[in-house]
Amino acid sequence: MRKNGEPVWTTEDLLASLEGREKFFVLDVRNRDEFARFRLEGREPLPAVNLPYFEMLELGGKDEMVDSVVACVEEHLAGQLPRELPILSVCAKGDTSEYVAQGLGLLGYTSANLKGGMKAWGNYYSTRAVVESKELAIYQISRPARGCLSYVVASNGKALVIDPLRHLHPYLELAQNKGFEIASVVDTHGHADHISGGPALASAHGASYFLHPYDAIHPMDVLPATIPYDPIRDGQIFKLGGVELEALHIPGHTLGLVALRLDDRYLFTADSIFIGSLARPDLGGRAEPWARLHYRSLRKLLELPGKMIVLPGHFSSLAEQNEAGLFAAPLEELKQRSHGLQVLAQESEEAFIRYLLENLAPFPPEYVDIKRVNAGLLAPTEDDASVLELGKNNCGLSGGTS
């Protein structure tokens, strides 16, 4: 337990426990389909039991929730819950799980409640510095539950934000604390798995919002975006204080995907090369022709200096973190350890395309709507936006983890 008997874990406590490989057990009392779609994950799978709270009510058979939890656990769950590990009770918003944690506490278990539940965990952001000096600062801002990564690059007081996620507070707080002016916002592509914070962040700061024009057309609807944007072209230079970022058009995951290169030091690969896998080419609905584009783009990236640090757009497991807690690795190292990059480097174009097409997870149906939201073709309520974004991103190949 992080808090010495204090029965509440904040999302921050949870991340520290997951990253620190602390051992604990999860009792998740949400519906079974919610659990199947989005569950707590650590570097390794967490031991867990999913029993919806209304089943606990019926199994326990008492009028009140805590009494039912006590009866249900004694009669039906005792053999499945460890006595030697803390048990974290989890529900959608953290209210019901409080009753469950209380019941477990009464039975003598080491019990804690996840404050705010899976909703708070899904919306939790973590900010870490990749490098921090006046000439160049880079921050990796992640949503750990979703595996989404975004970046703030700053030099001499000017900042460029790459792929800001839906909630703007991490970027606004960072800019305020460090005294940056947000000069530009870049979406590396039209995202399918999450709602971009790009247009809102740019307009809040009077900054320019950049997107490649190919991704300003919804690929399934074939309708133009209604959001205002400044088009990115291949080779475009973003000057920022004392450094420059160069846009590299690398179509594949989307038609308008760009990577950003910061001289020979950093490569923001967006959804192309991840630490544990490669991006999938089928989220625009045209897997085979886009896989061919993906092949050519990835070959181009392999030619870049091996010492460049790859900073990707996603991760799929906390196991991809380095010792500093960052999702970052030298390109050279990824060439050695990424199965996908080895297939890319060693096999023919046809073999690589086969490899891509054979490792596609089922297409998440909500991704079509998320692309609509990002193009300004659909305006969800806050509740709808949360539902669209539920769970971990699915932008990587399924069999591609290293």
Binding site: N31, R32, D33, Y53, F54, E55, L57, E58
Partner: protein
């Protein structure tokens, strides 16, 4: 398409699990064949009442409705005590 009901439980403003915990108590007080209408603002109650009705004995979920009142969604659940 409102349904007839015998008793109304107002669980608006209550967080999970109270809409369901209270509904369960009220259903226990009904005569077999009678219907309880529950109104709640907790969005999660929609899936929860469905899941609960599937496993609870002597309970049938007759229907659910969503109504927007002053921009707030109100979810209605019609629960029948069957025996």
């Amino acid at each position: 398409m409102s349904q007839p009901f015998d008793k109304l439980l107002d669980a608006r403003g209550m967080n999970c699990p109270l809409p369901l915990v209270n509904a369960r108590k009220e259903v226990g007080k009904l005569e077999p064949g009678q219907v309880l209408k529950v109104i709640a603002t907790d969005r999660g109650s929609v899936a929860d009442f469905q899941g609960w009705a599937k496993i609870a004995k002597n309970v049938e979920l007759l229907g659910q409705e969503t109504e927007s009142v002053d921009g707030v969604n109100v979810y209605a659940h019609y629960v029948k005590r069957t025996a």
